[in-house]
């Protein structure tokens, strides 16, 4: 469960986020759409307790991220542009290290998540030898290693080929079935439209529009977005 109320982030007179209000129930995938520089990455980083919000409040499963970031961290799995992986270590060593940070001991869970993303055969290969797509899938495995309640994904499908994107999409749908709350930013709405349950539009740091996804609803939605972001 993710709830934010008028979250802002600014320094001096520059406002990266001017007021983001969201409410994302469990078992849903929320797409966050907006041009580059609208504040998508800043929003993910704030919810992931990597960046401090300047104003407003944000709660993950009821825990306020500003007041108690330590309590939020075990609840969230994060996938950023960087893969958070060490190239000189093997896939298994990376996951075991990450497991030790989250109190997940041994190889069992790491092997399980490797199987989930189809990388079990490459468990003992150095991550440095992995392709971009394989690293992305490994960072998904890393994100769910400690069984978080919420997944925060910053343009997770960016740079993936069709096959890679299809695998990640299937993976996310399965996580949704298991009760995960998923927030995912994207700037290629056309391709990811079917994946989301609802879409929030971010424009100049503000949430300006929200719409539940329906298969044929894309064209009308795009028109509304165009209208809403013109007079901004």
């Amino acid at each position: 469960m993710i709830e934010t109320l008028e979250v802002t982030r600014q320094f001096g007179h520059r406002a990266a986020l001017a007021g983001v209000t969201l409410s994302i129930p469990p078992r849903t995938i929320r797409l966050i759409v907006g041009p580059n520089g609208a504040g998508k990455t800043t929003l993910v980083r704030i919810l992931a307790t990597l960046t401090r919000p300047t104003g407003g409040t944000a709660r993950i499963d009821g825990v306020d991220i500003a007041e108690d970031p330590e309590a939020v961290r075990p609840l969230i799995g994060v996938v950023l542009h960087e893969s958070l992986l060490y190239p000189e270590l093997t896939a298994l060593e990376n996951l075991e290290f990450c497991g030790s940070l989250y109190g997940v001991a041994g190889e069992a869970r790491p092997r399980e998540v490797l199987r989930l993303v189809g990388l079990l055969p490459r468990a003992t290969d150095a991550v440095g030898t992995f392709s971009m797509g394989m690293r992305k899938r490994l960072s998904f495995a890393r994100a769910i290693l400690h069984r978080p309640k919420v997944l925060l994904l910053d343009e997770p499908l960016a740079g993936l080929d069709r096959e890679g994107a299809r695998m990640v999409a299937a993976f996310l749908r399965r996580q949704r079935e298991e009760g995960m709350t998923i927030l995912m930013t994207t700037h290629t709405l056309e391709r990811d439209w079917a994946l989301g349950d609802a879409v929030s539009v971010l424009h100049r740091g503000r949430t300006v529009l929200e719409r539940t996804v329906s298969p044929e609803g894309l064209p009308s939605f795009l028109a509304d977005v165009e209208a809403r972001t013109q007079e901004g």
């Binding site: 320094f11 001096g12 520059r14 401090r52």
Partner: protein, 230 residues
């Protein structure tokens, strides 16, 4: 100075007046001929400038330290601006304190610099630390990243001064500074206090100038951005 600025001119006039009084007193004060704790009675008067300068330098860096802590807590850019301005003024004051200190040391002992004079030594450490702070500020990145970096360094740096003082003071090569205290007559202390007031006023005056300059730079930055953005 902006027109709505009542304080500026008053502060400058007050400083000029007090400054002249201080210089006059420093010259008129006659040392007690009997006491022997300094070699050259005339040059000793540099003390009336060295100590107030060093004091206002320490004050400046104390404010950088405090402003940095408040900035880290509140993230309000104003405190960061205060820290930058105070550091800039502080480096100037401390540099003058070092120069006058060296001149005074030379008049006393014939050497421009002696490591075992604890006061000169800690003033030098403070000067070095805040040159590094100013160097850090001029990496030119600007924005919150640089401000946060500088705030944290401002705290660590200020804390390192007493550490350096105690660490080196106990070195065998060092002995406590020469000179007994019997020259601290009431008149002497009075002149010194006037000096401290004068140079604290000076610090505030320079700080206002430096803050005004910073504000100007920010308006320029804002104007440029609105030019690009529009």
């Amino acid at each position: 100075m902006k027109e709505g600025d009542r304080w500026g001119p008053m502060l400058s006039v007050a400083w000029l007046g007090a400054g002249l009084v201080h210089v006059a007193l420093a010259f008129l004060w006659a040392p007690d001929p009997r006491s022997t704790s300094w070699a050259d009675p005339i040059a000793f008067r540099i003390f009336f400038f060295h100590v107030p300068l060093a004091w206002s330098g320490y004050l400046a860096f104390g404010i950088v330290f405090a402003a940095s802590i408040v900035f880290l807590r509140t993230r309000n850019a104003r405190w960061d601006h205060l820290a930058v301005a105070s550091a800039g003024v502080g480096v100037v004051l401390i540099s003058l304190a070092l120069v006058t200190g060296a001149l005074w040391q030379e008049a006393e002992t014939g050497e421009y610099w002696r490591w075992d004079d604890a006061r000169l030594f800690t003033t030098f450490v403070l000067w070095l630390v805040y040159l590094a702070y100013v160097a850090l500020r001029s990496t030119g990145e600007g924005g919150e990243g640089e401000a946060r970096m500088a705030a944290i360094y401002g705290i660590v740096a200020f804390a390192s001064v007493p550490i350096s003082f105690f660490s080196v003071r106990l070195l065998p090569a060092l002995h406590p500074p020469p000179g007994s205290r019997e020259y601290m007559t009431p008149v002497f202390v009075a002149v010194l206090l006037v000096g401290v007031v004068v140079f604290t006023l000076l610090y505030l005056l320079l700080l206002r100038h430096r803050l005004a300059l910073l504000k100007q730079a920010l308006t320029l930055e804002e104007a440029k951005q609105s030019l690009e953005g529009a």
